[in-house]
C-alpha cells in the first residue's frame, strides 16, 4: 500500500536526521518518544491493512507519516544548535588550554618565590641568632 510505503520512507528519513542530531550531541529523548509512537501507528496501519481495513490503515499510515515528517525539521534545528554549542566548546577549549598552562606556570613560580623567601628569612634569622650567641660568648670570656 502506497501510504504505508510513504510512512516507512518518512521513518527512514526521520531516523537519519535523529541520528545526525544525536551524533552532534543533541538531546533527542523527546523526539525519540514521538518517533516510537509514530512507529506504533505504522504497525497498526500494517495490521489493519492485513485485516482488510484499508481505510483505517490509510488513516493511521497518514498520521504516522505526518508525525515522522514533523520530526525532520526539529531534528535538523537541534543538530544545528548542538553543532554550534560544540563549536563554542571547542573555542573555549582552545582558549582554556594555554590559560591553564599559564596558570600552572604562574603557580609554580609563585610557590618557588614564596619558598625562596621563607628560606631566606629562616637563614637570616639563623645568622642573627648565631651572631647573638657569639656576642654572649665573648662577654662571658
Amino acid at each position: 500500500m502506497t501510504q504505508i510505503r510513504d510512512a516507512v520512507n518518512a521513518s527512514q528519513k526521520a531516523y537519519s536526521e535523529l541520528q545526525a542530531a544525536d551524533k552532534a550531541g543533541a538531546n533527542i529523548t523527546g523526539l525519540a518518544v514521538r518517533f516510537n509512537m509514530a512507529l506504533d501507528l505504522l504497525e497498526s496501519a500494517k495490521e489493519r491493512d492485513k485485516g482488510g481495513d484499508h481505510a483505517g490503515s490509510y488513516r493511521l499510515a497518514s498520521e504516522a507519516e505526518s508525525s515522522l515528517l514533523a520530526l525532520i525539521p526539529e531534528a535538523q534545528s537541534m543538530r544545528d544548535a548542538a553543532l554550534s554549542q560544540r563549536q563554542r566548546e571547542l573555542y573555549l577549549t582552545m582558549l582554556a588550554v594555554p590559560i591553564e598552562a599559564l596558570a600552572v606556570a604562574l603557580a609554580v613560580v609563585l610557590v618557588a618565590e614564596v619558598r625562596s623567601r621563607v628560606e631566606s628569612r629562616q637563614l637570616r634569622e639563623l645568622r642573627i641568632k648565631a651572631g647573638t650567641e657569639g656576642e654572649d660568648t665573648v662577654e662571658e670570656g
Binding site: Q12, Y15, S16, L18, Q19, D22, K23, I28, T29, A32, F35, N36, L39, E43, E47, K50, T93, A96, V97, E100, A101
Partner: protein, 189 residues
C-alpha cells in the same frame, strides 16, 4: 591539560545485547509450572530485552520465527539469519545506553495433532492473532522453538540487516526458546 584530556574520546566497545526473560522478569519460569510441554490457549509470558551500547541512537527490529528442530536456525558462524519468515516483528528506536523491554504474552490458539505429528497453525501474541508464517509441524510435538533475531537498520543500504558492524567487524545476536506441544488438551489421547 585537564580540558584537553576531557576532549579525547575513550575507546568504546559497540554492541547490542538481546535476552529473553521469563514471567517474573528473570531467567526462570518461562512456562507455566516450569513445564515446557505447553497446551493450546495457555498464556505464556516472556520479556524480551534489547540493550543498545552502540554509542548512538539506533533503529532496531526484533524478529520472531517459529521453527521445529529440523528447520535451519540462524547461523552464528556465517552470521546468517534463519531462512524462515517472521511471524512477528517489532521496530523501535533505541537511544544510546537504553534498554527496551518488550513484554510478550502468547499462546497457541490453533493446533492439530495427528498420529505422530503436531502442527501449530496460529498464535495469539500481545492480542494479535497471527497465522502468517506460523504453520510448523514437529514429530510427536517435540522440539518446537521460537527464535528471536535482532535486525539493525543500516542507513547506508537503507535496509534492516541481521546484526551490525562494530569497529568494522560484523556481529550478530539471537536466541531461541524450545518447547513441546504433545497434547492439544489436558485429556490424554
Amino acid at each position: 591539560m585537564l580540558t584537553l584530556t576531557a576532549q579525547i574520546p575513550r575507546p568504546y566497545d559497540e554492541y547490542f545485547a538481546l535476552y529473553t526473560l521469563g514471567s517474573t522478569g528473570k531467567a526462570e519460569h518461562y512456562f507455566p509450572s516450569d513445564v515446557a510441554d505447553i497446551l493450546p490457549n495457555v498464556r505464556i509470558s516472556w520479556f524480551l530485552s534489547v540493550y543498545n551500547h552502540m554509542g548512538t541512537v539506533q533503529l532496531v527490529k526484533v524478529v520472531l520465527k517459529l521453527l521445529n528442530s529440523t528447520m535451519q536456525g540462524p547461523d552464528q558462524l556465517a552470521m546468517l539469519p534463519s531462512q524462515r519468515d517472521a511471524f512477528y516483528e517489532k521496530t523501535r528506536l533505541l537511544l544510546s545506553n537504553e534498554t527496551w523491554v518488550l513484554p510478550l504474552s502468547w499462546s497457541v490458539v490453533d493446533a492439530n495433532k495427528s498420529e505422530t505429528r503436531m502442527t501449530i497453525f496460529s498464535i495469539l501474541l500481545n492480542g494479535q492473532n497471527l497465522s502468517e508464517n506460523v504453520e510448523v509441524t514437529a514429530s510427536h510435538g517435540l522440539n518446537f522453538r521460537i527464535v528471536v533475531e535482532l535486525w539493525v537498520y543500516d542507513g547506508t543500504s537503507g535496509m534492516f540487516e541481521f546484526g551490525w558492524l562494530s569497529n568494522g567487524t560484523k556481529r550478530v545476536v539471537w536466541n531461541q526458546l524450545w518447547f513441546n506441544m504433545t497434547r492439544v488438551s489436558l485429556l490424554p489421547y
